[in-house]
């Protein structure tokens, strides 16, 4: 008797019992269920929720692997004399086995904790509420390790995941009913609850916390952090684009995120309207700030100078902007649903991201807050888009009948 048959008998055995959803989830995750629909006609589409989720995960895997290499690279760059500054995309200094090993053992626990705790909460709620386990956590569970600093203590991640899944999703009714993006809720919780572990110059490179204050201290300032303090940055534009910079685990490589974006657009999972308008919004705000600088309204004594003077398109490749625009803003549940709404929603995300980034050095990552804010407004945007459309068509009817 194969595993599938065993699971099927288990399912039959537990039918109607309290634990049934837990077994059913395993069953449907691994195999197609044995049941088929018997009555009525149904539209059959291959892109069910599980497939959607898996596609996003596939788009995330390159970022995850790159994140492992980068985590090790950033540490080794400062501690291991054999590792020197990587040059170019295929640099052996970066794609180095010792980099990968360090990063792997740091990132893997984050992934395991994220999935383990999140799925445990999902199973618990499914059993209590008596509904089937939803696939919603599959993507969230992969996003979470990619948007936290490498050295975040695991227990904090546990607390945050429980909070994010329960308060951010389950209280609203589970997958598909949430107002806020759960992964960003988790990150926002960490950010406000444990700010010393989520910002500053100690947490972005593995080992920086333990060595702080010692002679061999590792410094791990992110580019945004340096800019907010009006410091010079020591990274080339190519480094920023390829992702050889400190930052949250999976957010650094704009190149891979771009490839992921193309993949999501090609498979029609992610909305190109949102991605494009988010980029446009950010560029618009960046240009405004550049204009302010070149008009001479502020000079280098201003505390906003560093970030305002950043060339407008650099904003796209530093920090978590690209990652947020591609993987977070496009979340189909929390984004606007109408096409016109998507343009407005995305544009405002980009616009507000850079605004927060520049004007509030205490929150150097404005993307997270901008997306959460626009998540809240997405239904309102949709409402007015729909109402506008209704009005337009009413007018058309009147013209006809008149």
């Amino acid at each position: 008797m194969g595993l599938k048959q065993k699971l099927h008998t288990l399912k039959e055995k537990y039918r109607g019992k309290k634990m049934a959803p837990a077994f059913n989830a395993l069953h449907t995750f691994l195999y197609l269920p044995n049941e088929t629909t018997h009555s009525g006609s149904h539209v059959r589409a291959a892109d069910d929720l599980k497939r959607t989720m898996n596609t996003v995960i596939m788009a995330l895997i390159p970022c995850l692997i790159f994140g492992m290499f980068n985590a090790g690279y950033q540490t080794n760059l400062q501690t291991d004399p054999e590792i020197t500054q990587a040059m170019g995309l295929f640099s052996g200094e970066f794609w180095n086995w010792s980099n990968f090993v360090i990063g792997f053992w740091k990132v893997l626990p984050l992934v395991i904790v994220s999935y383990g705790v999140g799925l445990a909460v999902e199973f618990l709620f499914a059993v209590i509420k008596g509904h089937e386990v939803e696939e919603g956590y599959l993507v969230t569970g992969m996003l979470v390790p990619l948007i936290v600093p490498i050295d975040i203590p695991l227990w904090m991640l546990v607390v945050a995941v429980i909070f994010g899944v329960v308060i951010g999703k389950e209280v609203f009714g589970g997958t598909g009913m949430n107002i806020l993006n759960p992964a960003l809720t988790i990150r926002a919780f960490l950010f406000f609850a444990y700010p010393t572990w989520m910002s500053g110059d100690k947490v972005w490179v593995h080992g920086a916390v333990e060595t702080a204050g010692k002679p061999d201290a590792i410094s791990g300032e992110t580019i945004l952090g340096s800019l907010a303090q009006n410091n010079e940055i020591g990274y080339s534009v190519m480094d920023m684009f390829l992702g050889f910079i400190p930052g949250s685990v999976g957010e650094t490589s704009t190149l891979l995120i771009l490839l992921g974006a193309l993949f999501l657009i090609y498979t029609k999972i992610g909305s190109w309207r949102i991605m494009l308008s988010t980029v446009l919004g950010a560029l618009a705000m960046g240009l405004i700030f550049n204009g302010v600088v070149s008009a001479g309204w502020i000079d280098s004594s201003s505390k906003f100078f560093g970030l305002m003077n950043t060339e407008f398109w650099h904003h796209l490749i530093i920090g978590g902007f690209a990652f947020g625009a591609v993987y977070m803003a496009t979340d189909p549940v929390t984004a606007s649903q109408t096409n016109k709404g998507k343009w407005i929603y995305g544009f405002l995300i980009g616009f507000i991201s850079i605004l927060i980034r520049v004007f509030n050095p205490a929150y150097p990552e404005g993307v997270m807050l901008a997306i959460l804010l626009m998540n809240v407004f997405a239904p309102t945007i949709d409402h007015y888009v729909v109402q506008g459309n209704v009005k337009k068509r009413m007018k058309r009817i009147k013209v006809k009948t008149a």
Binding site: W155, I167, F189, F192, A193, Y194, W197
Partner: protein
């Protein structure tokens, strides 16, 4: 309870649980969010409201037949304002630092909707003794939630209770902090108070399904 008839004790017990002013009627939320970052101000606030509501309800109830109904809100306001000023002055005289900490929120007891609500809904139509019990009951119901919220927010947010470190010292890393525990800074911020109140509402309604409203 020999002192209280069944009907009277219901006046006190109801607002404590199934008709709680905060979790069921969702009144008086603003002060519940503002001052519950620590336990001590929460308790002082609870006691202050207890005093204002107990005495205020009795006063309004005594005057209920001579208040012209057209100006009853003004009369109620004057009664509340008088009582709140007494509380404020007493705090300033005997607990100055606490009164600093609570700052404007003692004065804002005047606008606490629970108080005006009970004046309007109960004291204007009931005898002084029953009004007194109703005032005490509602203030206690308000206070219980404040204290629960204050307890969790201070414990998890600052690691202290009444200002005493109970989880160890975060600077010298003793107690829980020695094994890597850290205070949850989010608990100190007002949004978390709202979430804690929300969780209390959730727990209460899932225990007593009758409290869940129909849409």
């Amino acid at each position: 309870m020999g002192l209280l008839s069944k009907k009277d004790s219901k006046l006190i017990m109801d607002p404590l649980a199934d008709n709680n002013p905060i979790t069921i009627q969702v009144l008086g939320i603003c002060s519940a969010l503002a001052i519950t970052a620590q336990l001590k101000p929460s308790i002082v606030m609870a006691v202050s409201v207890l005093f204002v509501m107990g005495v205020g309800n009795v006063v309004i109830s005594l005057m209920r037949n001579i208040i012209p109904s057209k100006i009853r809100i003004i009369v109620q306001l004057i009664v509340v304002a008088t009582l709140v000023i007494i509380v404020d002055q007493v705090l300033k005289a005997f607990a100055y630092s606490l009164s600093k900490e609570l700052s404007v929120f003692i004065g804002l007891i005047i606008t606490n909707c629970i108080i005006m609500g009970r004046f309007e809904a109960f004291a204007l139509g009931n005898k002084p003794w029953r009004s007194f019990l109703d005032g005490i009951g509602n203030a206690a119901g308000y206070g219980v939630i404040l204290i629960i919220v204050g307890f969790f927010r201070e414990l998890l947010g600052s690691g202290t209770l009444f200002g005493f470190p109970v989880l160890g010292n975060p600077v010298t890393k003793t107690g829980l902090y020695a094994i890597g525990y850290e205070n949850n800074g989010f608990m100190v911020l007002p949004p978390m108070a709202l979430i804690v109140v929300g969780i209390i509402i959730w727990v209460q309604r899932s225990k007593n399904k009758e409290l869940i409203e129909e849409n």
